[in-house]
């Protein structure tokens, strides 16, 4: 065993460092649609128990110039935590303690390896919750939510991780630890927002070990409504009308006809009855409102009046409503939908965002490129990841992960959709991040801004050991990584 791993074992203990290939395979893939035989093996995996353990790992890694990759729930979809150059994986799930609940100030301080579900399991009996709620919450960690800047179900009301984060502890590439942010104040106008810089940085600048986040009172009631509209653009336009009225939506999602078919198909299979979908409706607008019952009822009435005025139709089948909401929030399916949905093919997505008025144009591109690259459509789903109407879109497809051509086609499709989104004044990624899948396009997205990003990277990580091979294209890192 080489000296670095002996040093790591001495620093952390024999049981908490492994270089055994058996222990490395579980960290060799993320949720990307990779060819089935493809894997990226790290050289070691470490299990830290506290921030100081991560400081020790970083100091040793720097001494030997070994790459370091922080690992949360392993459910990323862009290859952003893959050990493309080998190195050391830090398995952060072992750091999941709740450090402080400040009920007076509605803040929670927690270690970065805590899953979002575990945070809410802790908060719920106390009448509180952390509404940043991706579907992967039983596995995805709060640290990864920061580093990947993912979206969540309730973004239209509560925003993204940037809106929750108050301060955090970082470990730099030289092993120093520091706290950045604004303590417990909800906002600050002092200085550069160093903490914000870390959001979405995919572990390329530092490793986050502790975070203080805002938490909120748990709403007493929630009502879920599914509306049918002719197109996704109509549904997004309807959201403006609802907002104009003063209704404060808790969540808003738009699905296209393919996703609508998926949900009604599940209903058909279960009941043997077709769901009643009126002619001319090809899109679903799913809304939730939450709060005290009278307030919820008032808003429900207001939304109904607006939607009926626009001649849209309510899909009031309880079974479909419950199944839809299970897929977004409760996760209480009869059985887990993901395995059953992915027995033959892998789910993959282009996660572009475009301005709210250009939904039809990007949707046309979805139809065009899925046909061009021979990919079966799962359907499109619009999230609203920030307050007010703020579409981030999952254009999902099935990929045959045992067919190299299908996998290659998938990435060609993602790249084509990304370029299309940029042409429509949008962005190529709205919740997955760049990882290795989009690095060849980041110059196109950021133009000269990419050089500033690279200079910032070198300030934080002058020896380029933190999660190499991500975000920056070949002009900065000449290695060509296959997904």
């Amino acid at each position: 065993m080489s000296d670095i791993f002996i040093e790591l074992k001495n620093a952390l203990g024999e049981e908490r460092v492994s270089t055994n290939i058996i222990d490395l395979f579980p960290y060799s893939r993320d949720w990307s649609p990779m060819y089935h035989e493809k894997d990226y093996l790290p050289e070691a995996v470490c299990v830290p128990l506290c921030t100081d353990d991560i400081c020790k790992i970083m100091k040793i890694a720097l001494k030997y110039r070994k790459p370091v990759i922080a690992w949360g729930g392993g459910t990323g979809m862009g290859g952003d935590n893959l050990a493309v150059k080998g190195g050391i994986v830090i398995a952060t799930r072992s750091m999941s303690r709740i450090l402080e609940l400040d009920e007076t100030n509605y803040t929670l301080t927690v270690e970065a390896g805590a899953t979002i579900e575990s945070i809410n399991d802790f908060l719920e009996p106390r009448g509180l919750w952390f509404p940043h709620d991706p579907e992967s919450k039983p596995a995805s960690t709060i640290g990864a939510a920061m580093m990947c800047d993912n979206d969540g179900t309730f973004g239209i009301k509560y925003g993204g991780i940037v809106d929750y984060l108050l301060n955090c502890v970082l470990v730099l590439s030289n092993g120093e630890k520091l706290r950045v942010g604004q303590r417990k104040a909800a906002s600050t106008s002092s200085g550069y927002k160093t903490m914000w810089l870390l959001i979405g940085s995919e572990g390329t600048l530092a490793t986050v070990t502790e975070m203080t986040i805002r938490v909120f009172p748990l709403p007493r009631h929630r009502y879920v409504m599914l509306w049918l509209t002719p197109t996704m653009q109509d549904a997004v336009d309807a959201l403006y009308e609802i907002h104009k009225s003063g209704v404060w939506l808790e969540s808003a999602h738009v699905n296209d006809g393919y996703r609508l078919d998926y949900y009604t198909q599940a209903y058909r299979e279960k009941t043997g009855m077709p769901a009643k979908i009126p002619e001319g409706f090809g899109s679903l607008l799913a809304l939730t409102i939450a709060g005290d019952e009278d307030v919820v009822n008032f808003q429900k009435g207001k939304i109904t009046a607006i939607m009926e005025k626009m001649k849209y139709s309510l899909l009031d089948n309880e079974e479909i409503v419950r199944g839809w909401w299970a897929s977004k929030h409760t996760l209480q399916w009869e059985r887990n939908k993901w395995p059953s949905g992915q027995k033959q093919a892998k789910f993959g997505a282009a996660d572009v965002a475009v301005p709210p008025g250009r939904i039809n144009e990007i949707y046309d591109a979805y139809i065009r490129y899925t046909e061009k690259y021979k990919l079966k459509k799962v359907g499109a789903a619009i999230y609203n990841s920030r307050p007010h109407v703020s579409p981030s879109i999952s254009f999902a497809v099935y990929v045959d992960d045992h067919d190299k051509e299908s996998v290659d086609n998938f990435f060609s499709y993602v790249h084509a959709m990304s370029k299309e989104a940029l042409g429509l004044e949008g962005t190529m990624s709205s919740y997955i991040g760049d990882g290795i899948r989009l690095r060849r396009l980041t110059r196109l997205e950021h133009e000269k801004g990419l050089d500033i990003m690279w200079n910032i990277k070198k300030i934080f990580d002058p020896d380029l050991i933190l999660n190499p091979g991500k975000i920056f294209p070949k002009e900065f890192d000449p290695t060509d990584y296959e997904v």
């Binding site: 492994s18 459910t75 398995a91 992967s136 039983p138 596995a139 887990n336 992960d401």
Partner: protein
């Protein structure tokens, strides 16, 4: 070896897991909670088997060790279409077939084959005289205590005999084979199943005090193609039935006492026996307070699947986590319904001010006896 690999049957399930990759399987995985490596999770094990199926790693001692570091608690299957422990136990069979055996598991297997129990007890348990009169070979109810209650936690076996009126007992101890199946010794487990099938013939009802035995008899035997004739009841189901029929009255021995209940994995998560024990606990007057992880989401005690025999320290560490959860509810007493859980939870609870008992023992104490009025 290549021709007869058990794991090949599960190839599609493995790749389904690789595609899904949800990771919903390991938030309560007891070994993952204590060791921190995904190796011990269901998703991690799928990744390792994938590497094996693709020829990237070979069967080895290290592999055998890692796949045996699992309590078979089945939490990983709660949110999954696929029965994970079945897959991993099949892989253990391949490892054993290739000669990679875990020493403690091999000894258990030898012991069951030789003595009929995993504890190597050559002499059967001597039934106390006061219960001898209850044994009736003509009874259509057979009390099948299970090896742990019979040889290690005898107070549980005696408590059940106290509760039952008349019952038949097997002349010899015959292990149900649960620990064999869960350590990859399927053939030997099937031998035990066939033996018991013969011995159970002619009875209407089999009552067992062990969660592992119960799951084995009702779920695993049919998977092996072995259908037992009689109905199988866990002790908690039988007690509730006696209560419902007015044949057993429990006094309020728990009045003023706060109790919490640990769901044994093999009757709870696996077979859905959640309410009967809670009904009995309330009937005895206890104030029942739940741990945050309960029912389907209960944390395993850490002992199952032959794990305690392999890594007792870690198994005890897991039970200590569970005992701490119980203590945090403010309960004075932790009740469970499995002799093996009792055993491990007591090991982990040493030094804690917490009583840990099997529900059968409490019910025996609470049994209303006219002669004592």
């Amino acid at each position: 070896m290549q021709e007869s690999r058990k794991i090949d049957k599960y190839r599609d399930d493995i790749y389904t897991c690789i595609r899904s990759r949800c990771g919903f399987c390991f938030s309560n995985c007891p070994i993952f909670l204590t060791k921190g490596l995904e190796t011990y999770t269901s998703r991690g094990k799928s990744m390792i088997i994938k590497a094996f199926l693709e020829g990237k790693i070979e069967l080895s001692e290290d592999l055998a060790k890692r796949f045996s570091q699992c309590t078979n608690c089945g939490f990983c299957t709660t949110n999954c279409d696929v029965d994970r422990p079945d897959i991993f136990n099949a892989f253990k069979e391949d490892l054993i077939e290739a000669g990679y055996v875990i020493g403690s598991h091999e000894r258990i297997c030898e012991s069951v084959c030789r003595y009929g129990n995993p504890y190597g007890e050559a002499k059967d348990y001597q039934i106390p005289l006061k219960y001898m009169s209850k044994i009736d070979d003509d009874s259509d109810v057979l009390f099948y205590a299970g090896c742990t209650a019979r040889f290690r936690e005898r107070s549980i076996m005696e408590a059940m005999m106290e509760i039952m009126d008349r019952f038949a007992l097997l002349d010899e101890a015959v292990c149900c084979g649960s620990v064999l199946l869960r350590t990859g010794n399927r053939k030997e487990a099937e031998m035990q199943a066939r033996k018991l099938k013969d011995l159970f013939q002619g009875y209407r009802t089999i009552v067992t005090a062990c969660a592992g035995c119960y799951n084995m008899l009702v779920e695993q035997y049919p998977k092996m193609g072995i259908e037992l004739g009689p109905e199988i009841l866990h002790s908690t189901q039988y007690i509730k039935r006696l209560m419902d029929q007015g044949r057993l009255h429990l006094s309020k021995i728990g009045t003023g006492i706060k109790a919490t209940y640990h769901d044994p994995c093999h009757i709870g998560r696996k077979d859905g026996i959640f309410e009967e024990p809670r009904y009995i606990i309330r009937a005895m007057g206890f104030e029942l307070v739940e741990m945050p992880r309960n029912r389907e989401g209960a944390l395993c005690c850490g002992a199952g699947g032959g794990y305690k025999s392999m890594e007792d320290d870690t198994a005890t560490g897991i039970s200590r986590i569970r005992d701490t959860e119980a203590k945090s509810t403010g309960a004075d007493i932790l009740i469970t319904a499995c002799p093996f859980c009792v055993r491990n939870l007591r090991d982990g609870g040493q030094g804690m001010d917490l009583s840990i008992v099997d529900i059968v023992e409490l019910a025996a104490n609470a049994k209303y006896r006219p002669d004592k009025v």
